[in-house]
């Protein structure tokens, strides 16, 4: 099972990185979603894999899965939702503002203010 999870993490992050390296905003967003999946599973896996031992205290259970990575990942999932929503809206606003959803070229530069020169 460890091999499956590890390879899934690898493939998910590879897909995420590949998509983030694209030139348009939408694939970048999707890529970040993929990378979030990979990172969340990775963090979760740091507590090692356990089957049928949810961290819910009961008299019958002998052992529990590590609850700390789970708590960490739970907040990570929610935060990454917030982050993705913000990035989506940023991309949307950028597109509406400039008419382009490219992420590999800058915005047109404004002329720099004239510098004060040392004179005497």
């Amino acid at each position: 099972m460890e091999v499956l999870i590890a390879s899934a993490i690898g493939v998910l992050s590879a897909a995420g990185i590949y998509l983030i390296l694209r030139q348009r905003s939408f694939p970048v967003i999707i890529g970040m979603t993929f990378l979030s999946y990979a990172v969340n599973v990775f963090l979760f896996a740091m507590g090692r894999l356990t089957v049928d031992r949810p961290p819910i205290i009961s008299s019958g259970a002998a052992a529990y899965a590590d609850p700390l990575p789970q708590a960490l990942v739970l907040t990570a999932i929610v935060i990454s939702f917030g982050m993705t929503a913000l990035i989506v809206v940023l991309a949307l606003r950028g597109y509406l503002e400039t008419g382009s959803d490219r992420v590999d070229e800058g915005i047109p530069k404004l002329p720099e203010p004239a510098e004060e020169r040392l004179t005497s």
Binding site: A6, P55, P67, G82, L86, V89, L92, L118
Partner: protein, 969 residues
């Protein structure tokens, strides 16, 4: 805790020396409202207090003790707040505070009504505290901190008259040169600390032999000297000091003659036992000093501005002190100390006199002055005495230290040649005589003129009294050197030379017919001759080409700016893919390097057996991910595939004993898909293929390598056993937190503060989304929105079946939400998940019946929910303070209710409610806002309610709900 070496009170008090003026800097700006005099008093009081503290330490210091106090600051970096006071530190601190007090009095009368006096004194006190800090610091890193603070406060003071371009430019130049030098000094002192094995001066000064023998001695020396030379305006960095004269005259007198520019000299004196005495030290320091002395004096001779003459004269005298320290003999150190004292008195007096002239006559140009002795006899006499001392006239203190300097020089061969140093030093003295005489004659002597810009007369006593106070020691030391200055010079020089004994010397007016006296005589005659020949000399000077240091400085600065711009342009390409690729490649390289240097034994943890369903899910995940990489140009398809992956991940969470995660993941997945669908509605539907196959291959390689690395890392960790740190949480969840769902108890109790921070982040994200989209309804974005054509696929805006089903489902979904919320503490669930579920239920309504329809029916709008959530969570946390417990301490109890039976009430539940509202608010706010923007893009009128089945003939019947709704709202 302070280490007590001496009287405890004294020890504690000296800690205040630098802090007192720094903190008191806020008082003058407040006191200015009560008048200018009170403002000056507010600046004088902390200075006097610091002087008293210093006086209290004087007996100990003059018994030869070292008063010390240490407080840890950042021990892991070797930085501590440690202060010590020995002869040298005491001497400088007394000079800084004493002259500071005179300057404060003088400034009260010098500054005009229009000048913001509160700000002036605030800057001055800042400087004073920083400067005292430099001279009493024991820790050399602390010294650098104060050192840079003096540069900053000097910047503020030079640019005090903000309206003057010279002030701004001079301030900037001073900051660049001295601040840059401060960085060199930091590097040098770090090296010094490494070599000596301690950052405490008291330690370092004991280890001179180790330091001088170190192979790093020379680079360290050069860096430290770089700091000292820039600060003390040594050639070739001398150019900033004259430009700093754009500052108000009291500032020039204080910072740029008496104190700050002596910081470099102080540093060389301070580190003298550790650094001086080597060949490199002698060659570099003494020659730099000598050149500076000559260059400064030469330029001073030809300047017409009083302050410019004094500025270059200061450069020259600083060169003299540097040269003396560079000689490396204890006797030269004695002379250097003596000259520092003498120079501070006569030069500050002269600067203040220049200020008086400027104030009274309206000009500082000596070509327009003359004869002032008759018009302002008191201040002119004082100035003439000080100028005489500067020239080195007998009976004044300047004469004594100059004589002793020449005496030292006579015995000093430079690079084997016995003549170089004496000749150059005599020339320096000669020039000094010439410019001093020129200044005195042109300003004060000669006939009274009729064309002064103002009518000059003696100023109020507040302006000339500080000058007089300084002129008294000029004469007193000149007449009775051993009596007046003897103990101070001895104690200070002892501190400079460290453990060595001072050579026998005596400060006296008459040493007999020595070579030094001959050199002095030559200097006087030569100086007079030079002044006679001034006019042809000046013409000659103007005819020869000169290298102006400032122009070079400008060019260097331009070059640096241009270089930086080119570098930024090359690196900052504004291409996100390129940045990201750089980051990923860098991380991969570092990771690979780390992997290569480690050991590679296989893990010992037993693998879990693979089962069929897991294999299927795994294969689906893999296939989907690969498909997305290829098919991503089709955005809708990509989105569907992405949610498939999310589903797979949540199944994986269920499999591996994480029901909470699975619930969260799947509800987030739903919200995220809706969000992306909404966004996609406004974005292009496809991604054009813009890159060639080489680029795609290259990206693929980067992604694969990084993915492979992550997979390997995850595998390596998962196959090894470990000791979890969560045993405490598992053990305390029920007895301490009152819940059996450990994940939820961690979120709302053990790590409640993290969660609190997190919901705030969520709220900020939601508000940022709101702001970003709200402002897009104006300007270019709004025009683009208006020009968008709604796709035909949305013709059926509110399908009847969907409307009916979602409305029926709403109570059910709400119940599920409430259920998940309530069981959260003991079973999988909780505020996060319940929030997401309820948000989805509300979103369903919005999708089916329209956002406006839904928003009208929501009692709480999203903003309120956000605020409510954070407030509730915060208040719950604060509630524990009422019971004297730390923030967010939770409590719980069991309540018995009829029918329902016993159930638990925990304060954590109120906290979780806050989380719940924050999540609902965030989701609703972001999605509703996108929908609102989208509504702008829709050109067709959208029916408000479920009114889509428009059968011909029965339109009236169908349209009724719409009417009903509009009435309702």
């Amino acid at each position: 805790m302070p280490t007590v070496w001496s009287n405890r009170n004294v020890t504690l008090n000296i800690v205040l020396l630098p802090i007192l003026p720094l903190l008191a800097a806020i008082f003058p700006p407040l006191a200015i409202r009560s008048g200018r005099t009170l403002c000056a008093v507010a600046a004088a009081v902390p200075t006097v207090a610091a002087l008293l503290i210093l006086a209290a330490a004087a007996p100990a210091v003059y018994r030869g003790e070292i008063v010390q106090a240490t407080y840890e600051w950042l021990p892991q970096f070797g930085l501590s707040y440690s202060i010590f006071l020995d002869g040298l530190g005491f001497f400088f601190a007394a000079m800084i505070l004493g002259i500071g007090l005179l300057i404060i009095i003088y400034s009260r009368f010098y500054l005009s009504q229009d000048d913001p006096m509160g700000r002036f004194y605030a800057y001055l006190l800042l400087f004073q505290g920083a400067m005292v800090g430099v001279v009493v610091s024991d820790n050399i890193l602390l010294m650098v901190v104060f050192w840079e603070l003096t540069s900053l406060s000097s910047f503020l003071l030079i640019g005090y008259w903000r309206a003057l371009p010279e002030g701004r430019q001079g301030a900037r130049m001073a900051l660049v040169v001295t601040g840059g030098g401060g960085l060199l000094l930091l590097a040098g002192l770090l090296l010094l600390g490494q070599i000596a094995g301690s950052y405490e001066l008291t330690e370092i000064l004991q280890r001179g032999d180790v330091i001088k023998a170190s192979p790093l001695y020379l680079p360290m020396l050069l860096l430290v000297l770089g700091g000292a030379f820039t600060k003390s305006a040594q050639f070739p960095f001398h150019f900033w000091l004259p430009h700093a004269m754009a500052a108000p005259t009291p500032v020039s007198a204080y910072l740029h003659s008496a104190t700050m520019v002596k910081a470099g000299v102080f540093l060389m004196a301070r580190l003298w036992p550790a650094l001086a005495g080597t060949e490199a030290w002698f060659l570099i320091v003494s020659m730099t000093g000598l050149i500076t002395m000559l260059v400064g004096a030469w330029i001073a001779l030809f300047k017409d501005d009083l302050k410019a003459i004094l500025a270059y004269s200061t450069v020259s005298h600083l060169g003299l002190m540097t040269m003396l320290l560079g000689l490396g003999t204890p006797m030269a150190a004695v002379v250097a100390v003596f000259h520092i004292l003498n120079h501070a008195t006569f030069k500050a007096a002269l600067f203040m006199s220049a200020g008086i002239v400027d104030h009274e006559a309206g000009t500082r140009d000596i070509r327009r002055l003359g004869g002032l002795l008759h018009l302002m006899p008191i201040s002119a006499t004082l100035a003439l005495v000080a100028a005489g001392s500067m020239a080195g006239l007998p009976l004044l203190n300047g004469f004594l230290s100059k004589e002793m300097m020449l005496e030292e020089i006579v015995h000093t061969p430079y690079a084997g040649n016995p003549w170089i140093m004496p000749i150059l030093a005599t020339v320096g003295a000669l020039l000094s005589v010439a410019y001093s005489a020129r200044l005195a004659i042109k300003t004060y002597l000669g006939p009274v003129r009729a064309d002064y810009p103002h009518h000059p007369h003696d100023p109020p006593v507040g302006l000339w009294l500080p000058v007089a106070v300084l002129v008294v020691p000029v004469i007193a030391i000149g007449l009775l050197p051993a009596l007046i200055a003897g103990p101070v010079v001895e104690r200070t020089a002892l501190a400079v030379v460290g453990g060595q004994a001072l050579p026998s010397y005596y400060l006296a007016l008459w040493h007999g017919f020595t070579p030094a006296l001959m050199m002095s005589a030559v200097a006087f005659i030569g100086g007079a001759a030079l002044l006679m020949a001034f006019k042809p000399l000046d013409r000659l000077r103007l005819a020869t080409p000169r290298l102006e240091a400032k122009r070079v400085f400008d060019r260097v600065l331009d070059g640096a700016t241009g270089g930086a711009k080119a570098l930024v342009a090359a690196l900052h390409t504004e291409s996100l893919p390129r940045y990201f690729a750089t980051i990923v490649v860098a991380i991969t390289v570092v990771g690979t390097a780390g992997f290569m240097t480690g050991s590679h034994a296989a893990g010992t943890r037993a693998h879990l057996p693979v089962n069929g369903p897991a294999l299927v899910i795994w294969a689906t995940l893999l296939a989907t991910s690969l498909a997305v990489m290829v098919l991503h140009p089709n955005r809708l398809l990509t989105l569907i595939l992405t949610s498939l992956v999310g589903l797979g991940v949540s199944i994986a969470f269920i499999q591996f004993s994480a029901p909470d995660l699975a619930l969260t993941q799947i509800s987030v997945e739903v919200v995220m898909t809706i969000l992306l669908l909404l966004a996609l509605n406004l974005l292009p539907r496809t991604t054009p293929r813009e890159t060639g196959w080489i680029r795609r291959m290259w990206d693929g390689v980067i992604a694969s390598v990084a993915g492979f690395g992550l997979a390997g890392l995850a595998y390596a960790v998962m196959t090894r056993d470990f000791q979890p740190i969560s045993e405490y949480h598992l053990a305390q969840s029920k007895p301490g937190g009152g819940g059996t769902n450990v994940v939820n108890v961690i979120l709302v109790d053990f790590r409640g503060f993290d969660t609190f921070g997190e919901i705030i982040v969520l709220c900020i994200a939601a508000l940022a989304i709101y702001a970003l989209l709200d402002s897009s309804l104006k300007g270019a974005a709004a025009r683009r929105l208006a020009s968008m054509r709604q796709g035909e696929e949305a013709a059926d805006a509110h399908p009847l079946m969907l409307v009916v089903v979602t409305r029926v489902l709403l109570p059910l979904a709400m119940t599920v939400g409430a259920f998940i919320f309530l069981r959260g503490h003991n079973q999988p669930g909780g505020g996060f998940i319940a929030g997401l579920v309820v948000a989805i239920a509300l979103l369903m309504q919005a999708m089916a019946s329209g956002y406006i329809w839904t928003a009208e029916r929501l009692r709480l709008n999203a903003h309120t929910m956000l605020g409510l959530g954070v407030l509730l969570a915060g208040l719950t946390g604060l509630g524990s303070l009422l019971f004297g417990r730390p923030f967010l301490t939770s409590t719980f109890g069991y309540v018995h209710l009829p029918v329902i039976g016993e159930f638990e009430l925990a304060s954590a539940m109120a906290f979780d409610t806050g989380v719940f509202f924050a999540v609902v608010g965030t989701v609703l706010l972001s999605l509703a806002q996108i929908a609102r923007v989208e509504a702008r893009a829709e050109r067709k009128p959208v029916p408000q309610g479920p009114s889509d089945i428009r059968l011909v003939g029965s339109a009236r019947a169908v349209s009724q709900p719409t009417i009903a709704h509009s009435k309702e709202s």
